[in-house]
């Protein structure tokens, strides 16, 4: 079986995979990083989004063999090592942008990538459009959009904290 070497959340791993093995299967079943979820089989829902070499990808449609040498960040690796939440995680909590939590890891990882790619700042409509690849069945998205809008100000250094963004 092919071997793949990759870094996940800063830790190097070498895993044996089949040609058909998906990145999400490596993460969930071999590395037991179960924060990355699978919500569909047609690349629609985005529950499986992780960052690969700084880009958001759907881990359910990424073949593991395509990840040789890649650096992958999952939801488990987003907070600082001391446990301090990323501003996006903090904003999701502050704005009640999650209910059942199942879409949340993918939603947060997509949102981080969306904000990082748009340092000029995003309007509400642009945030909604930017979430096209992520489905949530619980929240109606309204609070997710508010959370991302608040987090982007903190991520881009326009505000010091979420408390300031909320004012």
């Amino acid at each position: 079986m092919p071997q793949v070497s990759l870094s996940v959340n800063g830790t190097a791993h070498t895993v044996e995979v089949e040609g058909r093995t998906l990145l999400v299967e490596v993460l969930r079943e071999q590395l037991r990083l179960t924060g990355t979820h699978v919500g569909c089989d047609t690349s629609q829902c985005g529950a499986c989004v992780v960052h690969m070499d700084g880009e958001s990808v759907k881990a359910c449609t990424t073949l593991a063999v395509a990840c040789e040498g890649a650096s992958v960040t999952t939801i488990e690796g987003l907070a600082k090592p001391d446990g301090t939440l990323h501003p996006m995680q903090e904003a999701f909590r502050e704005y009640h942008a999650l209910q059942c939590g199942f879409c949340t890891p993918g939603m947060v990882m997509s949102a981080v990538d969306l904000v990082q790619k748009n340092p000029q700042g995003l309007s509400e409509a642009e945030i909604r459009e930017g979430l096209e690849g992520n489905l949530c069945r619980c929240t109606g998205y309204h609070n997710i959009v508010k959370a991302i809008a608040a987090a982007q100000d903190v991520m881009h250094g326009r505000r010091e904290s979420l408390a300031a963004a909320a004012e």
Binding site: L85, H96, L131
Partner: protein
């Protein structure tokens, strides 16, 4: 410095305790659990809507790599069928038709997705590969997908034992009174509609793990369930014959339910049974296409309604005839949805004095249909609120004034409707006024004109609704055919040093119980929510419970906790009286402190709990040590949330695309414990209602193939399909539960669909249409605008 602790009790928008684990990827959903030695099951499903299995050969599959077993219906013939939890009676008093629902197909398949065989293998991939080596010979039979097909002369029988395909023919209300009222009515308004079939699509696909310990004989089932105790009861008693003491059901973190995870499903029995046979844990996880073919669907009603009005617009009578699609088998709650959760709601917020409803439930070759967020109440609300708009237009009344004219008066509660329910409280005039004000209803024509100048058709629509939830008084539902009680159970365990564990039979799958329930304890016992842990979802930990659905968790489960806290306080007072050498009737309790009335003698709750567990100085003659109390709460009535929803839409004439541009919800959900969570529940419910109105449809073709079987084909609402939703509450208290709460989980999905469609029809007022069926998709709207229909 004395820092005031932030208020965490009833009414505080406390941030959720459960969020940290979900946000850091440390939630534990069923598929995240892996048991030592675990095998994986794959289920081979029927590709046909209706077929006889003439041959089934599993020999090749059994020889495939990694395969441990292959099971078919013959292997599971000794296992009971999947039971139905509700029995409806026909007009003539005979019971409904209740054909067997086998766990695995027995000689015949009845819908696309019906389980035929199970492969258990070392990995999921091995199991899936082997399933492809199973040879099934089918004799394809004619199928009936729609209720019209199923009731046509010569229609194929879904079940041989039910040649008519009729599950039941039921009615409620007074036909004679309705007929008499119609005879003298100034206006008669007819409305016919189909309430579109929906797929719930919780983001977490269903999953189940069976585990068996041969040394103890104990079975454990981990499952994506809204009600683990109910699954234990149904599966243990009716399907696998396992006593409760030997069957533990765990529903860990569950990624959304919306009704679809209430029911006992075949896969739960399969993995539990297979784990016992094989002596190894067996896991099954649905892929999304499997979810579309096997999770119970929602809605699917075809209805004709007629309303009689006098010359001033006062409603005189309502006659409703509904056909409800049951699918191929009766799911757990299915029979009660179009009857006691639908027809009993047909008075709505109105004083209609005579109502008669007839409901026929029909078997078809489709996935079973059961409760989906709102369950019966969205169908009733949609029917009524469209009918009122159609009546206003046909008879020349203002649609708001017509509603107001017929509202139940605010001082008329308790109000007995002609269809069984007695509403305890409500104030429909206030929610209406507030929503009109917030939405800028009276300034709408300027917005319509402005949109027109931009080439857009703008419309506004209203819905004034109520629903019945807080399910349910056991004696009442028992008399109506429920086969279980619907109380709830709560345990309050005060630990020796004063922290609290709450055990609840309700189950959280997004609702935030770990926070809201902790707030109840903080408010009543004065314990900070950081020191209150809520345990749910495990039959080995929680004494008993009926789970979460029908917006019952707080109204019934919260009330049970409140009752248990009353017992804690009563016992605590006796201990405090002993310690402070006072008479028990002189001891007062408020938010964590026992006080001898009129003195400065006090004892904190933690001192009392310590005395209870270290009972050196303790009233042993009178009390047992410990401080833990359990209460069962059986509600006296349903609860009746209600309110007003107003939607504003714009249509792009060139494409027919409808965009939601404004939405206002003013709801009366009773006392609000956590406003942030309530607002989130309403927003999420509205999103599902807007999805039903504009986007979602479960589509079968003529041959019974499920065409919308993936998220590429079934239009789930996305972020840019929705608009900001303005949510406000106007409270009247529930009069019969101790918390005054009514429930907020379903109101959004119940009130919103007619508001949206009323807005669409309003936007199209120049095109001579009276109605647009849900979902109002671009092709339908384009055809209306361009006159091709």
């Amino acid at each position: 410095m004395n820092v005031m602790a932030p208020f965490e009790g009833i009414g505080a928008s406390v941030r959720r305790k459960e969020d940290l684990r979900f946000l850091s990827g440390r939630g534990q959903y069923t598929d995240d659990i892996n048991r030592p030695g675990q095998l994986h099951a794959f289920i081979l499903r029927s590709p046909h809507a209706h077929a006889r299995i003439t041959a089934l050969d599993t020999a090749a599959a059994k020889g495939m790599p990694g395969v441990r077993a292959v099971y078919t219906g013959a292997d599971m013939a000794a296992v009971g069928g999947i039971p139905c939890g509700w029995q409806i009676h026909n007009k003539d008093g005979t019971p409904m038709a209740e054909p067997k629902h086998p766990v695995l197909a027995e000689g015949k398949v009845r819908h696309v997705g019906d389980p035929v065989a199970v492969v258990v293998a070392d990995t999921r991939q091995h199991a899936r590969d082997a399933a492809e080596a199973i040879t099934v010979s089918y004799e394809v039979l004619p199928s009936a997908t729609t209720m019209a097909q199923a009731q046509a002369p010569g229609a194929p029988a879904v079940h041989e034992a039910v040649p008519s395909n009729l599950c039941y023919d039921w009615h409620i209300g007074e036909k004679a009174a309705v007929d008499a009222a119609f005879a003298g009515a100034a206006h008669r308004v007819v409305f016919e509609t189909t309430n579109n079939r929906l797929v719930p699509n919780a983001m977490e696909p269903r999953a189940a793990i069976g585990d068996y310990d041969a040394t103890t004989g104990e079975h454990t089932l981990y499952t994506t369930s809204q009600n683990p105790h109910v699954i234990r009861l149904l599966m243990g008693a009716f399907v696998l014959n396992i006593p409760e003491s030997k069957l533990r059901v765990v529903a860990p973190d569950v990624g959304g339910g919306f009704g679809s995870k209430i029911y006992h499903y075949a896969e739960e029995a399969i993995v539990t049974w297979a784990a016992h046979r094989l002596g190894r844990p067996v896991k099954w996880t649905a892929d999304r296409t499997e979810s579309f073919m096997s999770d119970a669907h929602g809605r699917d009603h075809v209805t004709r309604a007629e309303l009689a009005l006098d010359k001033d617009g006062t409603f005189l009578a309502l006659h409703v005839q509904t056909q409800a699609n049951m699918g191929a088998y009766l799911s757990t709650f299915a029979p009660c949805v179009p009857t006691y959760l639908y027809a009993t709601l047909l008075a709505g917020v109105y004083r209609t004095p005579a109502i008669y409803a007839e409901v026929k439930a029909v078997f078809t070759n489709t996935v079973p249909v059961d409760a989906y967020r709102g369950a019966g109440r969205p169908e009733a609300t949609y029917l009524l609120e469209r009918l009122v708009d159609v009546a206003a237009k046909q008879c020349g009344f203002d649609r708001v004034e017509l509603r107001r004219r017929n509202f139940i008066a605010t001082d008329a509660f308790p109000y007995q409707t002609p269809v069984a329910l007695e509403y305890d409280s409500g104030d429909y005039f206030s929610t209406l006024s507030q929503a009109l004000e917030t939405s800028g209803w009276h300034g709408f024509e300027a917005r319509r004109a402005e949109a027109k100048a931009r080439g857009r058709l703008r419309g506004i629509g209203i819905s004034t609704y109520l629903e019945a939830c807080g399910i349910a008084p056991s004696a009442v539902v028992g008399s109506l055919g429920a086969r279980a009680g619907l109380y709830e159970v709560g345990t309050i365990r005060v630990h020796p040093t004063g922290s609290v564990t709450v055990l609840t039979g309700a189950h959280s799958h997004g609702q935030g119980h770990e926070t809201t329930f902790a707030q109840l304890v903080a408010d009543k016992l004065g314990v900070p929510i950081a020191n209150v842990d809520v345990v749910h979802g495990d039959t080995a930990k929680v004494p008993f419970g009926m789970g979460t659905y029908g917006s019952r968790s707080l109204a019934v489960g919260g009330s049970a906790m409140d009752k248990a806290m009353d017992k804690i306080i009563a016992k605590g007072k006796k201990i405090a009286a002993h310690l402070m050498e006072a008479a028990v009737e002189d001891v007062e309790f408020e938010r964590g402190t026992f006080r001898v009335a009129g003195t400065d003698k006090t004892k904190a709750l933690a001192e009392i709990s310590l005395a209870a567990y270290v009972p050196h100085n303790f009233p042993h003659d009178e009390l047992e040590p410990g401080l833990e109390e359990t209460a069962f709460y059986d509600p006296k009535n349903f609860t009746y949330p209600g309110g007003c929803h107003i939607a504003e839409v714009e249509i792009e004439p060139e494409t027919g695309k409808v965009s939601l541009v404004n939405f206002t919800a003013v709801d009366d959900v009773g006392r609000v414990i956590n406003p942030m969570i309530v607002e989130g529940q309403v927003q999420g419910g509205v999103a599902q209602g807007v999805g039903q109105a504009l986007l979602e449809a479960c589509v079968y073709d003529e041959g019974g193939q499920l065409l919308s079987a993936s998220m590429m084909d079934y239009a789930m609402p996305r972020a840019d399909d929705l608009a900001p939703v303005s949510v406000a509450t106007h409270t009247t208290l529930c009069t019969h539960n101790p918390l005054g709460v009514k429930g907020c989980g379903e109101v959004g999905a119940i009130g919103s669909p007619p508001a949206v469609i009323n807005a669409v029809v309003d936007a199209l007022r120049d095109f001579g249409v009276n109605h647009v069926e849900m979902p109002a998709t671009p092709p339908k709207i384009w055809s209306i605008i361009h006159g091709t229909k």
